[in-house]
Amino acid sequence: MSDIINANPTILNPSDLPTRSESRKKQSSSAHIADKISRLPTSKSLLYDPFSYYPGEDSAYSSGGSDQDEDDDEDETAAEDIDEQEIYDLISTISDPEHPLSLGELAVINLPHIHVTHAPPTPQNPHPMSHVLVEITPTINHCSLATVIGLGVRVRLEQALPPRFRIDVRIREGTHQSTEQVNKQLNDKERVAAACENETLMGVLSNMLATCK
């Protein structure tokens, strides 16, 4: 990779990348203070007293003066489905093989180009198959690294998603001169398996994946 294929790509500012909005208390110091000021302690932690314990109650370790954990009284039961943003978070931090930038910053991975579909669970099959489609946009249309990037995305998703997911990684229509060829390579199980046997290639991939958060 001595010759850089695209030496001057357009870069998105990290603050312009899509994020999950509900994590506001983690992002913003001001919101954090707001939380501290306005969040009435739950009766559980306020009235917590080790000497008036009723069996069946959580022992409320979050009380006792440590306020660092108080803010994640998460609702234990509500399920959160794997959605597009979660897929985006998994793969947008992969590094580009030729720039010290993430695929998200280079707009190779874009939130609107990720599609997740869940089949409705039935009593017979409580965990039906799900499908995820990721379309990647190479920085330039003759990018010979598109296959490597696609493979990186694929490997990352295979490691990070539960087995009930069918994974589909494609080059976005019209963004590459040999879209079909690359797509064939990326979704051919045997070719992918063969690629994963190639040590040089795996070395490149593991460098790309090393920055995943």
């Binding site: 000021i37 306005s38 009435l40 022992s59 234990e76």
Partner: protein, 1023 residues
């Protein structure tokens, strides 16, 4: 025997004795019992002896004698020639030097002597043959005569300088170089070296760059930086070196070593700042040509920074004596070259060189007012034109960002609001562009799409930076900017924008507090609702107000407004949430003020009586009070009172505590109550047995306030023991858990701080004995009503390492297996070691060092032993107690005992208690890294349990699952590969399940954990 002879005999056998002999000889010389001539005579035969060691020893004797003489004794010529004579003789070099050092210090050491010494040293020494210790002495001799007889040496002409340079050639020892460099500096500055400039320069520059690395255990403690600094002083001290120095430095700038480059740049900076302006005027062009490369193509921020320093130093040097912009000045020529280059680069503001170019411009702009004016006039018209022609937002953004450093530079030259220094006499050139800049930055901030966060941020930053510059924007312009920022803080949907705008308002609140009070406060207060609504409607606004109110005048305004709002809200029958938030914002500001070192005790009058009165009056009217008597709100009020009282001195505290006791204990009229004093005195009885829950709960405020008193304050009670007894009694029949906690804290505070006399301790021993008797015979936690008090008293005592704590804790440990009380006792241990906000050092409680450790060491063996013997039902009480203790001591302590604790920790993972489980897993996580060997022995059962804990259930809450996965993810890096690799397949397979966990945060941990294990590589097939 002659003393010389005696000395020679003694020196090998006993140096101490030899030294004594020499000293005695010196004494005799001093007392004129001996004359020097006869001494030298007697030495004569040894000085010419064939054996060089004898010669050396003889000189040593002579030198020691001379050193011991008072400096005024010898007349000049005496001794000098004798001692110099053998200088050619390598054997005695060390001793000769000692002698010379002694002679050179004599008051009658004459200029001629100095020249003689110098000549002999320079002529006769082939120093490189000598060990470095001897060379050190020679250099010391030169150093000595240089400082004693500098004028005489100067008269020797260039001979001295050239001689010295030859003498020190090829020296490499750092300690010697330190002396040499400082001598060379003297020679360069004071001696006439016109004929040998290059020679002297080479003698210095041959050491550049210093690559010395300080060896470990270096006895001299000389660092590479010491050497660099001294060498640089030699190079920078004379402008005449420029002709040799700059070309060679620039050559070395091509080096690949970052260290060398850094050294070169720092040297250029130093020289630019000390050389004469006329010299720098000759060299700026070549310097700029090379140095700019280091900024524009920098791969290393550190180097770029040094290069910018050098570029700035050149501008500074060329600015000397200039008071106005002059087209013909060397500064003008230099800056024209710089600005032209940077402007070209900035035409494409998204290119890589744009940002460094902007840094260069700001670097030269801060060099001087004239440099600032020249730079601004040269670049701003060009930058504005370029900006107007840009179409892509990314480019516009980069351009706006590129101009930001120039605003900082202007603030540096012309000061920020509130600076008292006089601004430069030269007018601020940026003013000519003020309106245009205001316009484009405002448009970027307010006139672009909401999604363009970084573009808008650039606008916001520009406006903020320009607002700081003193006398730049008018107040109405800053007022407009403040309005922009207000609007963003209140309505923008992007967190980043809101945070940045608030940050900017904070900056402006320090520079222009009146604008914040006049514009921001009304705008923000108007946003606060009048009645309790969804919390989102006020939390951000309150947070912003609180952050803005740290400055005193602003805080006063905040107080007024918050109290008014509180009235309205309470009249509208609010729930506790909103009043809680209002008061919390006051608490927040007080904390911030306290953290920044401000005296908050002065806020007492405005806040504490006001809040206490408002809380108590409704309760004294027979009603059940309002939102202020909700426990959470009482806590905040208590914290506010506590924080303020804590900051008072003893006298003021005594007064306030006296008043508080009047209200809460004595039931007399108090000055704190601002209205209806008599009614309060009559109707408010929080410590009465038949009082209402609401009145009783106000003890929360009282406990917090009393907890803040200094130990020197005497509590206004005749009998403190009786008072504690009463509190204990009340704590046995509490109105609510919060009420009880307040009472128990109050008891603990009083005992910890005030029960120190033998009588008090006897009282404690007796009453805890009685409580114990009652607890022991109880058959349920309800009847063991003194149990909580016992724990709190033990806590108060243990904190000050009081032995009285041991029997109490020992007894409590003893009933962990009691089938009726064990559970309650196990939970009680949570109290014992946890940090209590009231019983703290900040509150003047006695908290001894290692008190936690002592308690830990006391409890753990008993717990482990008891655990082994306990019935299976009672085991979990031990684990509960253990877990409470472990959570509250530093992990270092736990690790010391981990051998015995690990089995218990593993068993606690099987308990049906999420809290204990999380705590144990957290402890195990530390253990995995810190005690890898031990963990390796238990790895199989540990992995099984952690995997089990990672699957969702009633007990395995999100916290437990996350902790388990996090712990598992430490294994691959913390343990040896052959220990973990056999488990890789099992784990990779098992982790597929948490990848599908219903909770996102757990899935994230699972992905991370799996990636770590995946990275381990493949297990060998035969494993």
């Amino acid at each position: 025997m002659e003393p010389a002879q005696l000395y020679l005999v003694a020196i090998d056998r006993d140096p101490e004795e030899a030294a004594q002999i020499a000293k005695a000889t010196a004494k005799r010389l001093e007392n004129k019992e001996l004359i020097l001539l006869s001494l030298t005579k007697s030495l004569g035969e040894y000085l010419t002896n064939d054996d060089r060691t004898i010669r050396a020893k003889a000189i040593g004797f002579y030198a020691t004698v001379l050193t011991a003489l008072p400096p005024s004794l010898l007349s000049s010529a005496q001794g000098t020639s004798e001692i110099l004579h053998p200088l050619e003789d390598e054997a005695g070099l060390k001793e000769v030097c000692h002698g010379l050092l002694a002679i050179a210090g004599m008051s009658r050491f004459q200029p001629e002597d100095a020249q003689m010494v110098a000549r002999s040293v320079l002529k006769s020494c082939d120093l490189l043959k000598q060990p470095q210790g001897s060379r050190y002495l020679v250099y010391q001799v030169m150093d000595k005569i240089l400082s004693e007889q500098r004028e005489a040496l100067k008269r020797m002409g260039p001979d001295f300088a050239t001689g010295y340079v030859e003498l020190v050639a090829n020296e490499k020892d750092p300690r010697n170089l330190m002396i040499i460099f400082s001598n060379l500096k003297v020679i360069i500055v004071e001696f006439d070296i016109e004929d040998c400039e290059e020679q002297v320069f080479d003698a210095c520059f041959c050491y550049f760059p210093i690559t010395f690395k300080q060896p470990p255990n270096d006895p001299y403690g000389i660092t590479a930086q010491d050497l660099k600094d001294r060498l640089r002083e030699c190079l920078q001290v004379s402008s005449k070196f420029a002709v040799f120095l700059f070309p060679q430095l620039l050559e070395k700038l091509d080096s690949h070593s970052a260290n060398t480059k850094k050294d070169v740049l720092q040297t250029i900076t130093a020289c630019a700042l000390t050389y004469e302006k006329s010299i720098i005027a000759n060299y700026w062009a070549t310097l700029w040509d090379s140095i700019k490369y280091e900024v524009l193509n920098a791969s290393d921020d550190d180097l770029a920074f040094e290069a910018l320093d050098a570029i700035r130093a050149i501008a500074k040097s060329l600015s000397a004596k200039l008071t106005t912009v002059m087209r013909t000045s060397s500064l003008d020529k230099y800056l024209r070259a710089v600005t032209k280059e940077c402007l070209t680069q900035l035409r494409n503001p998204t290119a890589k060189q744009a940002k460094p170019s902007a840094s260069i411009l700001s670097a030269v702009a801060v060099a001087s007012p004239v440099a600032h004016a020249t730079t601004i006039q040269a670049v701003l018209p060009g930058l504005s034109t370029t900006y107007d022609g840009l179409e892509e937002i990314a480019k516009q953004r980069s351009m706006l960002q590129a101009m930001l450093p120039l605003f900082d530079a202007t603030a540096q030259v012309y000061g920020v609001w509130g600076d008292i220094e006089y601004p430069p006499s030269l007018n601020n050139s940026l003013e000519a562009f003020k309106d245009n800049l205001f316009e484009i930055y405002s448009r970027a901030l307010m006139g672009s799409a909401k999604e363009e966060v970084s573009f808008r941020l650039a606008g916001l930053n520009g406006l903020t930076k320009m607002s700081r510059i003193k006398n730049f924007f008018a107040d109405n312009e800053i007022g407009l900017i403040v309005q922009f920022f207000d609007e963003i803080v209140l309505t923008d949907e992007k967190d980043e924008m809101r945070d940045a705008a608030l940050e900017s308002l904070l900056i402006l609140s320090r520079l222009k507090p009146s604008l914040i009070m006049e514009i921001t406060f009304p705008a923000f207060m108007a946003k606060l609702p009048d009645r309790e609504e969804d919390e989102k409607s006020y939390d951000m606004t309150l947070s912003a107000l609180a952050q803005l109110s740290v400055e005193r005048p602003v805080f006063q305004v905040l107080l007024t407004r918050i109290f008014n709002k509180l009235n309205i809200v309470l009249n509208n029958k609010s729930g506790p949430g909103y009043p809680f938030a209002l008061l919390s914002s006051i608490l927040y500001v007080l904390r911030r003020k306290h953290e920044t070192g401000k005296d908050i005790s002065t806020h007492y009058t405005r806040i504490v009586p006001e809040l206490i009165t408002r809380t108590i009056i409704p309760l004294s009217n027979g009603s059940s009070g309002n939102a202020l008597s909700h426990e959470a709100v009482l806590e905040v009020t208590g914290n506010i009172a506590s924080l303020i009282i804590r900051a008072m001195d003893v006298e003021k505290q005594t007064e306030v505590v006296g008043e508080l006791f009047k209200i809460f204990v004595a039931q007399t009229e108090s000055a704190i109550i601002t209205s209806d004093k008599e009614i309060v005195a009559k109707e408010f009885k929080p410590l009465g047995e038949d009082t209402s829950l609401q009145q009783a709960s106000t003890i929360i405020i009282f406990a917090s306030a009393v907890a803040a008193t200094r130990r020197e304050v005497t509590l206004p009670l005749d009998n403190l023991q009786k008072f504690v007894e009463k509190l204990v009694l009340l704590s046995r029949t509490p109105k609510s858990p919060g009420h009880r906690r307040a009472l128990l804290r109050l008891i603990a505070v009083i005992i910890n701080k005030y029960f120190t006399t033998p009588e008090d301790r006897a009282f404690l021993a007796k009453s805890t004995d009685e409580m114990w008797e009652a607890v022991k015979s109880a058959d349920s936690p309800e009847t063991a009503s003194s149990l909580p008090a016992l724990f709190w008293i033990a806590k108060a005592l243990a904190l000050r390492n009081d032995k009285l704590a041991d029997p109490i804790v020992g007894r409590l440990l003893g009933i962990l297996d009691n089938k009726d009380l064990g559970v309650a006792v196990g939970r009680g241990f949570e109290v014992l070691l946890s940090d209590d906000p009231l019983l703290s050092k900040e509150n003047f409680a006695v908290v001894r060092l290692l008190s936690q450790q002592k308690l830990f060491v006391f409890c753990v063996p008993k717990l482990v032993e008891g655990f082994k013997a306990a019935s299976s039902a009672a085991k979990k009480n031990y684990l509960h107690a253990l877990s409470s203790i472990i959570r509250n001591v530093p992990s270092k302590l736990v690790l010391a005992e981990i051998d015995t604790l690990l089995p218990l920790l593993l068993q606690s993972l099987d308990l049906e208690d999420s809290g204990i489980k999380t705590a144990s897993i957290d402890t195990l996580s530390v253990t995995v890294t810190e005690a890898a060997g031990l963990v390796s022995e238990h790895i199989s059962s540990l992995i099984t349990r952690l995997l089990a804990a990672s699957s969702p259930s009633e007990v395995n809450t999100v916290k437990v699952r996350s902790a388990a996965l996090r712990c598992l993810s430490i294994f691959p890096s913390a343990l040896k590969i052959d220990v973990v690799i056999p488990y890789k397949r099992q784990i990779m397979r098992a982790l597929l399940k948490p990848l599908d966990d219903p909770k996102r945060s757990v899935r994230k941990e699972a992905v991370e954990c799996r990636a770590r294990w995946f990275a381990l590589g493949e297990p060998k097939e035969d494993d």
